[in-house]
């Protein structure tokens, strides 16, 4: 399936920015699941300083906000051909060892709630059936609800709040899977919803390493394994590692963010 994507993130500041950086992980990479046909990053109100590849092989672009700017907009656009893979990415490994994806992070630390969920998993080799069941249980316990959580909510907190968005679902799932000693990672990317061109936001899901299969993806929010409508952007241990944009600015200016995302076939 050929997907045409245009994704604009706009930051507005209530005072001119003295010095600020935005780190973008907004460049998809070709793999078994997808072939990037063309891709472009356009920056207004800022300058691309460099590109680098991080520890998870994500392609990063470091942008400096123009001094005195009050608005920065970052547009990633292009075409990606996706392939039917049943959510199986396979045995593709970077430098990061598998055990690294068993390490918890502040956002994916298991508390009592996660530990309880994790009991649904009986084997540390990874069982597709068990994992799908876990995914369903999480969606039941934490139905999709905007505004229940923030970007900094941890997996355990989201579970207790009993409501959340894709980021929370993915992190709860990852935390529970890791608690059962199975490697799991967070994926940020795009999902084309069938009924519309304008999408609400970029998406997030999880990948689990299953013996024999390699990495397999699970979209908890939609209760399925990702198919051709999904485009992978970045991975990491949690939503910080794989954040499409991370920023930092010196000074007093407060930032508001606005996202516009169009995906069509």
């Amino acid at each position: 399936m050929k997907l045409s994507i245009s994704h604009t993130t706009t930051y507005t500041y209530d005072a001119p920015v003295q010095y600020g950086l935005q780190k973008m992980r907004l460049t998809p990479v070709s793999d078994r699941h997808q072939t990037v046909l063309n891709w472009n990053l356009a920056i207004e109100g800022g300058t691309s300083e460099l590109t680098c590849i991080d520890q998870y092989q994500n392609h990063c672009t470091l942008v400096q906000i123009d001094s005195g700017a009050t608005r920065v907009s970052l547009t990633a656009s292009g075409e990606v051909e996706t392939h039917s893979s049943d959510g199986i990415l396979g045995k593709i490994y970077g430098s990061a060892p598998l055990w690294h994806f068993k390490q918890t992070t502040d956002r994916t630390k298991a508390g009592s709630g996660i530990a309880e969920l994790s009991r649904m998993i009986s084997t540390s080799t990874g069982d597709l059936g068990e994992l799908h069941a876990l995914s369903n249980t999480i969606l039941e316990a934490v139905p999709y609800r905007n505004g229940a959580t923030t970007v900094t909510t941890t997996a355990e907190e989201a579970l207790h709040l009993a409501g959340g968005v894709c980021q929370d679902h993915a992190q709860i799932f990852i935390a529970a899977v890791r608690h059962a000693e199975i490697p799991a990672r967070y994926v940020s990317g795009y999902l084309m919803m069938d009924d519309r061109i304008d999408q609400d936001a970029s998406h997030a899901w999880a990948e689990v390493h299953i013996d024999g299969l390699g990495w397999v993806a699970f979209d908890v929010s939609n209760g399925i394994s990702p198919d051709e409508r999904y485009v992978r952007l970045a991975t990491g241990r949690d939503s910080i590692d794989a954040a499409p944009v991370t920023g930092l600015q010196l000074g007093q200016a407060r930032e508001t963010m606005d996202v516009s995302l169009q995906i069509q076939q």
Binding site: Q55, S95, L248
Partner: protein
Amino acid sequence: MDTKPIHFDEMLAAEGSVRAPYHAYEAWFSKQNPSRLKAKSKDAEAFFRRTGITFNVYGKEAAQERLIPFDLIPRIISSREWTKLAKGIEQRVRAINMFLYDIYHRQEILRAGIIPTDLIAKNDAFLPQMIGLTPPGDVYTHIVGTDIVRTGEDDFYVLEDNARTPSGVSYMLENRETMLQMFPELFSQNRVKPVSDYPKNLRKSLAACAPPNCTGKPTVAILTPGIHNSAYFEHSFLADQMGVELVEGHDLRVVDGHIAMRTTKGHKQIDVLYRRVDDDYLDPLNFRPDSMLGVPGIMDVYRAGNITITNAPGTGIADDKAIYSYIPDIVEFYTGEKAILRNVETYRCAEPDALKYVLDNLAELVVKEVHGSGGYGMLVGPAASKKELADFEQKLRSNPANYIAQPTLSLSTVPIFVKKGLSPRHVDLRPFVLVSPNGIEITPGGLTRVALQEGSLVVNSSQGGGTKDTWVLEE
């Protein structure tokens, strides 16, 4: 019966004779007038104060500036002793760099089962941001200060590897400078290997680590946390001696994909940054967002190959005290050679059997925090009170993996100058090692730290230790 342990004294042998390296010195010393020496000693202190060779003590009110006491009796090492030591240190430092490369790439040593994976996987010193990153020449730890202790004629042990940001080299240089000024005649009677080339060599070594796409003469700078840091004197001293800028985080920013320092003429690119800021604080964009000491985005600039950070972030995984116990295996794994220098026997309290032994023998052991340094949070069993032992037992039980224990070594002594003349005190030695793609260089000598209290084994300056000039004699 006298139960006092007999220590190996590096100057005076057991039967009262003077050991060979000290012959010439002793002949000179025996002719000195003690009151003249005492006056010289006072001069030295005044000199240190006036020149501002001080360190800041944490935990005291408003970070007071203190002097590290200097003792005027040199510690003397023969050429033969040094050759062996230097070979051992070189081997160890080479292996540590290979280990660091491996840990952040293929991790063959874990696959081979030499080190348990959990020791790395569950270690906070492992820095994910370094995975897959290859610094120029595969050098991770460029500046090393290996802590060595001695217990006998030929018995040298490595106590700590200090592969992150060892300090103290300024004292090595200033101690020698002071001795040269106070007793110039000594240096014509003894052929002492010079240490004064260190700043020049450091600069050369750092410049050799410039990123491959750096064209022209590399610009080197030192990054300091600022004037309130305990080692600020050393940072400014080294910058001054090398002739490079001493910068703080707020002097730096990203310019054209590089890190640049703000000068009176605009921004100037830096190619090699010798940073004396801890990993956590180095980059608020990629590590601790609340850090005011670092440079946002420097890790991205580093990964893009536009700057070299020395020592590389994440080197802490090699001088972790739990990893320490595996260093002989690490040396053998990467070099195919047996380790020349010995390790002190180490009990990893994470292991139940070891913990039991440690708890049963607490009063005879030295217990250290796995990530601790500077002598903070450490228990010296034989010197501890009943209450201190009981408190530490609690700590050990509640978090055993945080500790390792070692037998109390009978550290060698070197005399210090006191009212009555000479009196033996325990010492250790920190030689300074420079690593670059061009090779490994060890300055002959190093910093001798001395426990000024009689019988004490704690030499850390933060705990009342002093220093001595350290001589390595020419053949």
